[in-house]
Amino acid sequence: MSRLTIAGLVTSALLAGVAFAAEEPNADAYREMTYGDRDANPALLVIDRGEELFKEKRGPKNVSLEQCDFGLGAGVLKGAYAQLPRYFKDTDRVQDAESRLLTCMTELQGFTVEELTKQTFANDKRNEDNTDLEALTVYIAAQSDGMKINAPAEHPKEQEAIKVGEGIFWRRQGPLDFACATCHADDKKRIRLQNLGNFSKAGVDVQKTMSAWPTYRVSHAAVRTMQHRMWDCMWQMRLPDAQYGSPMTVALIAYLNAQGKDGTYALPGMSR
């Protein structure tokens, strides 16, 4: 076996040389051409719908969401998304924008969590339009465009969420033995031509990703939110459907936003 291992090392060294000499596949120019014009983002249409949904009197209690507190006080949306997830005293837990939205839609408007989460994401295979939750979320998030990622890490529960999120990031499971870290803990890695980003260290990679969501995913013809991204990664790892707004997904987002602190939001994003 040791002989084989040495042969393996020599081979990888040779091949590494080959890979180094060849030009790295790079789709950045294509991306800039396709997504560079911010006015071209169909998410802008979804944001308009989200604004209407936000201001409309809805639900059994027939009230709007204008008194919803996203952390900066009732009704304050400007900059609120940039400071999420955070600890909320009334629910005694750390919440991201989407789990907080569920709180307001149940508490203020009288919807039930069951009906709200029956279908959280538009089904792109059926060419569906974005769900109300997605439209509301991108509207709320867009009010932090140009601001810096600045989720608080003062309350012990906020610190706990970040630590637990990091633990979840490294946890390996499922039929592919994957953790989030399998794809997102090294520099300059790709799945096929898709850049992955190293999120295990603070800095540009994670800032770029966290500041660009919610994003209009052209391949889905729909806006996708961070909760969808969390579900999608778990689904790709061949795991069960992640629970929308669960402490697990919120903790992961808290960890990622802590890693991506000070990145500047460019919302809505637009991507493959």
Partner: protein, 102 residues
């Protein structure tokens, strides 16, 4: 809810840049539903933009244009022009949006 998002701005040389986003499913006619049946085509087939009631752009579209399409073009015009964009689709649907170039 306005289904069209229309923007315009004056560029140098007397050109006006018009940008438009349109809410539309743009069904190609080639997609199958979960039962395996083809979903009938339903897409915007014609877009006309007028400035002060004079046609400045006309486009004939097919099923290869994406959902919620985006379009941008320039024409020779001036601040104060009254723009109107109208689309028609393959099911006889139509919608329009208006804007004064500022």
């Amino acid at each position: 809810m306005p289904s069209i998002k229309l923007r315009a701005k004056a560029l140098e040389g007397g050109l006006i840049e018009v940008k438009a986003l349109m809410t539309h499913p743009m069904e190609t006619g080639l997609r199958k539903d979960s039962a395996g049946e083809l979903v009938p085509a339903h897409f915007i087939s014609e877009v006309i933009v007028t400035a002060n009631d004079k046609e400045v752009m006309k486009a004939n579209w097919g099923g290869s244009i994406s959902k919620n399409p985006y379009m941008a073009f320039t024409y020779k015009g001036a601040v104060g022009d009254k723009l109107k964009l109208t689309w028609k689709d393959t099911k006889g649907g139509t919608d329009s949006g208006e804007l004064v170039v500022a």
